[in-house]
Amino acid sequence: MSLRNAARAFPTMLRIGFSEALAYRAELLIWVVSTTMPLIMMALWTAVARDAPVGRYGTQGFVGYFLATFVVRQLTGSWAAWQINFEVRQGTLAMRLLRPISPLWAYAAENLGAMPMRLLVAVPVALLSVAAVGRAAVPQTAWGWPVLLLAIFGGWLITFLANVAIGTMVFFMESSQKLMDVWLVLFFVFSGYMYPVELFPPVLRAVADWLPFRYQIGLPVEVMTGAHGLAETLGLLARQWMWIFLLGVFSFTLWRRGVRRFAAYGG
């Protein structure tokens, strides 16, 4: 197997991913509805900000922030951990392993192939945000747009690689579901999904800056709503890609060792 092989097959795999997303559109819809937490948090925080603004966020600021959060969550979603967990326990991973391309490519393609369907949800929400908040809802500088794309892609990569790492733990434990739950709790607390990380007390904020979670959601959202200048944004982007590198190395090593332990149950 070579990288060239994978690159040649990838467009086809993306097409398969898209067809799957189309076939299971009800499931996708359920997933979209179950990510409405930002809207709940929006209601809560606008109620909080009604008397006095919190930090630099007034009512409008929170509306923009949480609609952006909703959009970013749609575009950075990955469910590889559940899939790996399921396929290892069912033994169906054996089928994927027979193919001349690493299953990880297939998982990535399935996630990315669903993107057009997700854009169908995300774009109207982004437009709604522009209608509600005005120009402040989207990047206002020329560099903001490419950086936003890069930050969203990076956010997806972190989510995907973390999913792979956690999913792969199923080779070493009976189930990695519990581990995923723990990751998700930390994600909710530290990612900026429920509140902008800058509202944290200083100590916790410093912790959040060094954890991977805020680079999944917080950073793209902040770029979208124009929270930082160019220099600061690039610094944060550097940390995001540092995490992508670390997680990438970690999860590929883990995967390679894990697959060796795999014995198709009931196969």
């Binding site: 709940i40 209601a43 809560l44």
Partner: protein, 263 residues
């Protein structure tokens, strides 16, 4: 008839506790995880109340009561309602629901009682812990009639949760591949963590009448503070009974709609 169902319930409970006892190590781990959840779930509350006295008329201590009820009900939901009804979704996917439907007892009763996770009781304990801490912060005790009212409301909330789950599960008859129905439901229930007064407009309407989250956590908290009117109490009980009735009808219809995998 009722005696027969009680005996059946006993049998189901015994078999699920035997299943749990096989994995004693999980008990401790689950307890720890659930404690961890409770603590981290408080993070947004601390962030919201950082530097302000009250939000939408609820002080920190009062809002903590709502969180306490949320935690307690989460224990009930995940310990007694979700596990067995997750099984139904599995049954529908695999087409094995036939085996349940063939049995000479009510199908809804059978599928609702197959599995319990007793370790979720730790959640109930953390809920009670939050009550104690909240009243300590408020520097007062709960009102005694209010406590009784809140026990009644616990019953009606459980009934509401159960009925909502039945409705969600019924959706599984019509939609293919819905492994994540649980997440869907939990994420809606998550809004119950906050006093209903913070929701305005459309959301407030939805959470009062369509998905009655306000009844589940905000009402009991208000009852404990002794400021829930008798009218609201009666409305909550009546509402939950109506909800249960509707969900039963929907369930029966969905069963009628079910075509087994082999046919």
């Amino acid at each position: 008839m009722i005696r027969r169902y009680l005996r059946l319930l006993g049998v189901q409970l015994r078999s699920s506790s035997l299943l749990i006892l096989q994995y004693r190590g999980d008990f401790l781990l689950e307890g720890l995880v659930s404690l961890f959840w409770t603590v981290t779930a408080l993070a947004p509350l601390f962030v919201v109340y950082r530097g302000r006295e009250s939000v939408a008329g609820w002080s920190f201590g009062e809002a903590l009561l709502v969180v306490g009820w949320f935690t307690l009900l989460q224990g009930v939901l995940e310990g007694a309602i979700t596990p067995s009804l997750n099984g139904v979704v599995d049954h529908i996917r695999k087409g094995t629901l036939d085996f349940v439907l063939l049995k000479p007892a009510d199908a809804q009763f059978l599928v609702s009682t197959t599995r319990f996770l007793p370790w979720r009781a730790t959640n109930v304990l953390s809920g009670v812990g939050l009550f104690v801490y909240a009243f300590h912060l408020l520097d007062r005790g709960p009102s005694i009639p209010g406590l009784f009212a809140s026990v009644v409301l616990l019953g009606s909330s459980t009934l509401l949760l159960y009925s909502m789950w039945i409705l969600t599960v019924s959706a599984a008859f019509f939609v293919v591949r819905v492994d994540n129905l649980t997440y869907f439901f939990q994420s809606i229930f998550d809004a119950a963590r906050w006093p209903s007064a913070v929701f305005k407009g459309t959301l407030s309407f939805i959470f009062t009448f369509i998905i009655p989250l306000a009844l589940m956590t905000t009402f009991p908290a208000e009852a404990m503070l002794g400021r829930l009117s008798l009218k609201s109490l009666l409305a909550a009980v009546g509402g939950s009974l109506a909800f249960a009735f509707v969900s039963r009808r929907v369930w029966l219809r969905s069963i009628g709609h079910y075509t087994s995998a082999s046919s």
